[in-house]
Symmetry: C2
Subunit: 156 residues, 2 copies
Amino acid sequence: MSIADIKGRPCSVAGALAVVGDRWSLLAVREVMFGNHRFSDIVRNTGAPRDRLAARLKVLVEAGVLERRQYQDSPPRWSYHLTASGKALSPVLEALRQWGDEHVVREPALTLLHKGHEVRGAWYCETCGERVRGRDLERRVNTPGWDLAGPVTPDG
Amino acid sequence: MSIADIKGRPCSVAGALAVVGDRWSLLAVREVMFGNHRFSDIVRNTGAPRDRLAARLKVLVEAGVLERRQYQDSPPRWSYHLTASGKALSPVLEALRQWGDEHVVREPALTLLHKGHEVRGAWYCETCGERVRGRDLERRVNTPGWDLAGPVTPDG
DNA sequence: GGTAGTTGGTTTGATGTGCAAACCTAGGTG
DNA sequence: CACCTAGGTTTGCACATCAAACCAACTACC
């Protein structure tokens, strides 16, 4: 995918959402991450309609998020596995899970344990080692013709 | 929103996606986070159709993610602002941006500066201070009738 | 050896959602 | 008086989504 295909502001968030920004993709990735690799399991655990899930899995395989492996010859059967790109979605799911726990659903349905204790993740800057807070952030727009406010008009 | 409204696995990720898991919501939140508070600005910068955006903004206001403020009396004009819940979506957007930069769009369209230097965020555990890695994580399902593999059948 | 079940989908037909473009309201501007 | 701005809503059409049925190629049971 090229940055030119993005409508509106050229932005990696929009690019990411073009791949996984629909109703079922991230839930499918969640299930594969949980170890459920087969079509019927993913259908049952996400609640997605079978045709929708089939279509989304195809897109995710084409986008390199999932990999389809044949695990049986006759009749042919396939299972779905995470690629490196799919595994890299883990922070996205974790951020969504944490936000959902705190702002949508009251009681957490899943507890994440990190080496035995409950994890509450925080975003840290690897360069300086400090916790990243909103007020310390500054955004620099690298695409010509745009700034934070929107498209720059030539006669601006 | 209650956990019972979720189809498929009861999970905060699904709850979060029920609120912001559509094509435009997160892009709208991104724009408000960038300081673009007005309807036309959000329309232009996201590329969303006006009616879709109007509908999504209404949902986001009802869900407590955005707040609608009147900034002018006649004619009445409103602007959109982040609530605490909306501000808490920042890690979700950051995770998506980083994944998009690394796995979808090659050249980052936006650079995030943290106190002057470029930030590459990493997820750390606040309890033990260590970086959270996938292999150190364990998941515990708290909802009765479900485990990682799916719904638990009574007959084992 | 016939019937039912499993698995990984595809097809079907009704319904819902998404889209671009036009329109509306209420005022301001030249 | 015509046009512009801002924040939407309406319209008409296309496409996506859904649940349920169907299908193909096996396997298991009786």
